[in-house]
């Protein structure tokens, strides 16, 4: 189990970052990619936290908060997954334990995301009372109370995120640790393979999210081209592949520029 002070600090920070998801700023520091890195850094392994966070980011990439739809809480899910992987990776003596812990953490994070969404629904219902309170204050000629009510709402949102994270880490981590210790070597090996398959699944989720028949050729060119290059290039040449990133985005921007020019003409 995590030391209590570490659990509390991670929960407090995760709750704070979670405010960014809906309540405040929305500059996306609440996204799993960022949260995973932050939690990883707090636990002494930023690269691992970042890796798990980016995996959760891809799996949750289609979670769009449209209207009153509450998507799974990616912030708390990523915080839990990153903490779980870093905490559990050395629990099992078998090879592939780090990747196996990653798989377990990600599967458990799905449940944490669902728990977070439930908690947010409860919190939003409570916010309705704050809205009615605000109306009473305005009727009473006290518009300055709006600011105080908003601060109360932000406090409630922070508390919800921190609580979800604390409960998940406090109850979920010991359970996962128990499970990890009991796993036979075959199961550890299977889960370590799963970790890589989850990455593929993440990419498939992204491709599905952006799916468009007309863009099929772009996916095909990207996948086949890089699969070919991957077979012939050495790993330390991977930075060359960054060119693919630039080219892809330049291609996207070009369409926009052309559309704008078309309008001007």
């Amino acid at each position: 189990m995590l030391p209590l002070n570490q659990l509390l600090v991670i929960s407090a920070v995760s709750g704070l970052l979670g405010l960014d998801a809906t309540a405040a700023l929305q500059v996306m520091v609440s996204r799993p990619l960022v949260v995973g890195g932050v939690v990883g850094w707090m636990m002494g392994d930023a690269p691992m936290g970042l890796t798990i966070g980016s995996l959760v980011e891809m799996l949750w990439i289609g979670g769009v908060p449209v209207g009153s739809l509450v998507p799974p809480d990616g912030t708390q899910a990523a915080a839990f997954a990153a903490a779980a992987v870093i905490h559990l990776r050395s629990v099992s003596p078998y090879p592939g334990a780090a990747e196996a812990a990653g798989s377990l953490g990600v599967v458990a994070a799905v449940a944490v995301g669902g728990l977070g969404a439930r908690a947010e629904i409860v919190q939003r219902r409570m916010m309705s009372r704050l809205s009615r309170w605000a109306e009473r204050e305005v009727d009473a000629g006290n518009p300055a109370a709006l600011g105080r009510i908003l601060v109360a709402a932000l406090g409630l949102a922070w508390l919800r995120g921190a609580l979800v994270c604390a409960v998940s880490l406090g109850l979920g981590l010991p359970l996962l640790q128990l499970l990890m210790v009991q796993l036979p070597p075959e199961a550890v090996r299977a889960l370590s393979w799963c970790f890589w398959l989850f990455w593929l699944l993440g990419l498939a989720v992204v491709a599905d999210h952006f799916w468009e028949r007309r863009a099929l050729k772009h996916v095909a060119v990207g996948a086949l081209g890089l699969a070919m290059l991957g077979s012939t290039l050495r790993v330390d040449q991977a930075s060359l592949l960054l060119a693919a990133v630039v080219v892809a985005h330049a291609a996207g921007m070009w369409r926009w520029v052309r559309a704008r020019r078309g309008e001007a003409a």
């Binding site: 289609g62 939003r124 799963c194 992204v206 996916v219 086949l224 790993v235």
Partner: protein, 257 residues
């Protein structure tokens, strides 16, 4: 037309960052909207009764994309400023809010939530895997920069545009050609996803440095295409996640060592 100082407009822009602070199921973003315009209404309506009536009107149901809300706030404040009294502004402001909000929400949801954010995320994931060490750790910065440059630009100038253009602000938003940019970014993100899937079998794990322990990168890619097919058939990602666990367990038990 009543005058509204630049200072009030800047304050309203900053308060917009907390538009969804008290999001609730009954009236959605109403409280955030009311708090956002409260300072400006103080300047527009020195009379307490008028101010109260205007503020109460802004506590009615309101919902749009949080990044596009600046246009609505700016246009609504202009309508308040143009009307001779708070009572006479009521219909114009309500009609403006009701008319602009859903259209801007659709544009914002499609561009920011469904396109720019996933595309920036995909770019950061590609950066994490492909950038030389230790630069790969800058992936969150890549994500935040790629996402926030257009996002913050729009948020900081939208209220001003709404104030200047009034009810014609929709034309300004249309001129941004966001649907065309959306299409371009979707293609770029798809290309990146395909590229990373192709390269994944040959690059090292960003944290452990290990590689894919599977047989062949084309086989690995084939598994990805299989997952993609399942997703197109509306199989939920969670089901595929569990399917992966079951299949690898069967394989690990069938082929020990």
């Amino acid at each position: 037309m009543k005058r509204l100082s630049r200072r009030s407009r800047v304050w309203a822009t900053l308060r917009l960052l907390f538009l969804q602070g008290a999001w609730n199921f009954e009236r959605l973003q109403n409280l955030g909207f009311a708090w956002c315009v409260e300072g400006a209404l103080r300047e527009l309506y020195p009379d307490t009764g008028e101010r109260r009536a205007a503020l109460k009107r802004h506590l009615e149901l309101f919902n749009t994309h949080p990044y596009m809300a600046g246009y609505v706030v700016g246009a609504a404040l202009r309508a308040e400023a143009e009307a001779p009294s708070a009572l006479q502004a009521a219909d114009a402001v309500t009609a403006l809010k009701m008319g602009l909000s859903p259209a801007l929400a659709a544009v914002g949801d499609s561009f920011f939530w469904a396109t720019l954010r996933p595309a920036a995320g995909m770019m950061a994931v590609a950066w994490l895997w492909l950038a030389p060490h230790p630069w790969h750790l800058a992936a969150p910065l890549v994500f935040l920069t790629a996402y926030n440059l257009p996002g913050l630009w729009l948020r900081l100038h939208s209220l001003e545009m709404g104030w200047q253009e009034g009810d014609r602000v929709a034309l300004h938003v249309a001129a941004l050609r966001l649907p065309a940019l959306t299409e371009g970014m979707r293609m770029a993100a798809l290309m990146l996803a395909g590229a990373l899937a192709g390269a994944l079998a040959r690059v090292a794990h960003p944290a452990t440095g290990g590689g894919v322990p599977l047989v062949d990168n084309f086989l690995f890619l084939g598994a990805g295409l299989g997952m993609m097919l399942l997703l197109r058939l509306s199989v939920r990602p969670l089901a595929i996640l569990l399917l992966c666990v079951v299949i690898t367990l069967v394989l690990a038990v069938s082929f020990p060592g």
